[in-house]
Point group: D2
Chain length 346, copies 4
């Protein structure tokens, strides 16, 4: 049994980690950390867990945690993990950080986009970017995982094969992303009230969303050259789900079958990435509650562009599910253990 | 491995059966019956099942099915199961009927409320009403299960302890029920279009909903005398979930602790029925995707009434989940096998 | 032109007042009071008003307001209006209070249910309960209007004719109410976040909601004797709308036509109360954005009860619309001026 | 009083026309045409109109209509208006066609994208494309108006100033559009059921949506050269609203102030187009129920692109509202008569 500690267990990503780990036969949650609710029953915060979780919320004591558990998940605001983590802790325990603290290799880029001073830059180099489909082997031996952001996971997987194979002109890449409201977290803000979000849709952070450099960095590795692109997120009146619609010009004409073969080359053996059939476009509801990413594409011969699409549950593959997938790899378990969840429809 | 056949696999309840049985380690679906989609890939109808179900939809051939499988689930419109079933089939295979055909013992009452002629009244007597928490022992030996309706399951379990113990005046009982839209099925009707349901709420079938006699019959068994009550369902803009608010006058004054003890007497050992803590009221989201029913009550000393509340996922405990729970009992498996699903929140 | 001042203009009811008054040809808003947003452009808080309202938000200075305007609307938390109002102000200006401060004649009842000390109990007697359909004549001469609560308006109008005519046994009356989320206000609370409300439904404040004594008081006037009843509100995932389902036993048998005649007696000439046709039940969407209340009833001969139903937009007839209706009466204008809004569907 | 006939009065756009015209002081609806509901009370189809509309639905007899009314609105499926209309009718009555029949000047393009044979191609040349902000003068004298599509209206107005002034490279233009579900009409289809749309989002008709040539034609007029672009619509779980996010490369660098001046040049005097303030992005809820289009833009200096955004109510400015705006112009009335509706929030 892997002993698990969670810091930030009462946010939406933390709550989802609890949901997934309760169904994982090789993991056991030993520490429900939540600064805001110390001393309260976890199941009073998430009543869906009533009679399933008896524990109370504990504080963020990472040193103590390092002694008691095998792996720590940090599902906390940016900057917190970086401020708590050090070599000593990493010597005792594996860490999977769901925040952005170790995702971006260039600390200046991180500090500029996040407006924060990074408290442990010396650990960035070692951290492995936990996108399992791409970095599987490095993850297996990592002590510290930077669990990818929700938008970056879905954006990257939607366009990866065509970028990697040099099929699109990366300087024409535009990613138009749509997200359910759980991505905004559980903080009490007027903008996220039911009445403000329901029957409404908007773009936000156009041209300056923090996930932009993360996506660009990963795409640059795939392309073998610097990628700069547009990323525009939108808020959608639904709880869960991210939908990506990406556009790019093709370097040369290509048939559907040729492009399908490229996607299949990368994803045929990937359990969690499903390349849909011709002209069947991803829908967020078809992956809800599961760790799947559904992708597809459409070639527009009129404009010589390809439209790449992806759908994912932002709290599962975009956060807690991918974190568990990383844990499985790090501990030598079957990669899909505890994650073979059938999407819930309707 | 239990071999399973489903008739009506492409309705919402049928789709949910598939979702649950895919995660059940002792069951295997051998037949995806769907009259409307014969010959089509099941996963083309429910794209959430893409790469999880490879089979095509088959017809409703119950004789053939009886030879091939161990248990048949019928998730079909009223009247169909009754028209297909006979002694010969029941000698070969167990049947769990999710329609109302065998729920009501008095065939005249059935025919009157459903406006149908019952095609196999001789089988009604044998059928066991599959409310596991009440009829557990009879279910274990049954050949034919009448799987309870969604409203009846949640209504009954919310009020059962107080009716059974004679604490409320049953002639004052009023059940005000609210349901998500999946309860209305997947048929293409204007009334169930997104734009008609969203941002809207209404009562329907007041004083004449077909689930009324089913609830009354079961409550009558519990009370040991005929129960007649009011039942009013409402349509709510959400996919899943039933919420029950029931009212009745108390025979005599009672404290919270005394009444809590009554609920605990009946549900303390029931895994799927959770009696919430004092003043915590059931919410449909806290049970979504799971087989739980959350119940609670509030005594109003001003009016000498008790308000009884229950929340449930109509497609799980209200249909497919309870059907699997029945299957588990009928085949000597652990009752909760494949059903220990953590509710998904948010 | 009537000069209008609003205190609490940036809450949902305040914003709706602005929407309605902008379309009122005899009223002009002179003061947009909002303690939380003093000095900010009103249209920065409600961007729907961009280019329609140029003014900035001002403070709650009621003395100053009394000099500048003809009527003050207070759409503020309980207790505020009572603490600001006095005889001096009422000598200069008419006041329509959308809070509960002057709705309940018995100050002890108010203080008990609201947990507040009433700061100006001497004004309660004079205040007229602004339910126009019932108190039309008194409203015309009032200086101070207690604008009815949202639940009380819809509850009362749904059952009023049968209570007034002595047709139901009032001691059996049960009101099960369902409300959209705007009724909970615009405060930033976790419970009202999109992800907590969407795909969810719950009862709250069962047996102790503050609108209970208000409904009981008004029904008692109608019945000519003390009415005590059950009132249970529920939160529904929609922005606007209240739906009432009320139950009571009949004193004696009655036909549909007889009961319809009773409803018509009270509402035939009421523009804003629509008695629907037989077996057509109220839906909140059919009144959204308008000042209408749709009502209907169903007699259940099996139980000798009547089910009374009503639907209303909580922000219009349940708050701002009724307030404007009161203003029209107080200033001798046509009662429906500015309120002949066609409900928006879908 | 303008006498109005509506063909297709029971679709969502037709229903919205009724809503708007009921509040128009110079128009009177004389004919509620609806092939599907002939002989039924209009208010039985749209219960929001109960007691507001007493008329029954009539058939599609355009010849008879031409004798009785001053203007006919056709809110019908593609092809119907073209099949009914002729010179004789146009000599008697003005026609505002809400379908696509006369929007595209090149009949081959129309026939190819719509898969229909055009039944009255001789009338196409005369028809005026009813985008009031652009073709105001021609509209005033027109007999036949091709009322613009919902996506084209919002797409065009969002990018028009920059295309017209030659600021963007039109060959880089990409329009990513999101629409509420009322755009899909009131037909009973499984895909538009509540449970299929709620908690879901998807792209559809990528690279081949029928509104593409309409947008391209209008943009080509503005650009003075042929424009070919990408247009991808998405279905969003909300009733009303279209949100446009458009991307294009700038010909040369430009400051915010310079670009704002360009937008203001075209829209400063347009009542219905609101250019929002810096960094305030359009939200569909801020225009719901109104005839406004809110637009704004963001320059991304990293990629040298501009992101253009627009929000609109698809049933108002995208259909019925714009149709009334056209009627006002054609009959010499104030352009905004009956359309000064304040958006409803929340």
């Amino acid at each position: 049994m892997i002993k698990v500690g969670i810091i930030g267990a009462t946010g939406y990503a933390g709550g989802e980690l609890v949901r997934l780990l309760l169904g994982h036969r090789q993991a056991e949650i030993k520490w429900f950390g939540s600064k805001s609710y110390i001393g309260q029953q976890f199941s009073h915060i998430y009543q869906n867990m009533f009679q399933l979780v008896e524990e109370k919320c504990l504080d963020d004591n990472m040193d103590e945690l390092a002694k008691q558990v095998d792996v720590i998940f940090t599902a906390t605001p940016q900057g917190l993990c970086a401020s708590l983590l050090n070599e000593d802790i990493l010597n005792k325990v594996k860490v999977i950080d769901l925040s952005a603290d170790y995702r971006i290799k260039d600390v200046e880029t991180y500090e500029q986009w996040y407006g924060l001073r990074h408290a442990s830059p010396q650990l960035i180099e070692e951290a492995v970017y936990g996108l399992c489909e791409v970095n599987r082997e490095s993850i297996k031996n990592a002590r510290l995982i930077a669990n990818p952001g929700c938008y970056p996971t879905c954006s990257f997987l939607s366009v990866y094969p065509l970028v990697k194979e040099g099929i699109i002109q990366t300087e024409t890449l535009i990613i138009d992303a749509k997200s359910g409201t759980s991505g905004a977290g559980r903080g009490a803000k007027v903008d996220n009230l039911y009445c403000e979000v329901n029957e409404n849709m908007k773009a936000y952070s156009a041209a300056n969303h923090r996930h932009t450099p993360e996506i660009e960095e990963q795409l640059s590795y795939a392309a073998g050259k610097k990628v700069v692109m547009n990323f525009t997120p939108h808020l959608v009146p639904m709880n869960r789900g991210i939908l990506i619609t990406a556009y790019a010009s093709l370097k040369e004409e290509m048939t559907y079958e040729e492009m399908k073969a490229v996607y299949d080359k990368y994803y045929e053996k990937e359990y969690f990435v499903r390349v849909l059939e011709k002209d069947v476009y991803p829908q967020t509801k078809w992956v809800e509650g599961s760790n799947f990413v559904d992708v597809n594409f459409k070639i527009d011969t009129r404009t010589n562009r390809v439209i790449m699409m992806g759908a994912m549950d932002n709290l599962v593959k975009g956060a807690a599910g991918q974190a568990v997938q990383n844990m499985n790899l790090m501990f030598g378990l079957e990669e899909s253990m505890g994650l073979q969840l059938v999407p819930m429809f309707p």
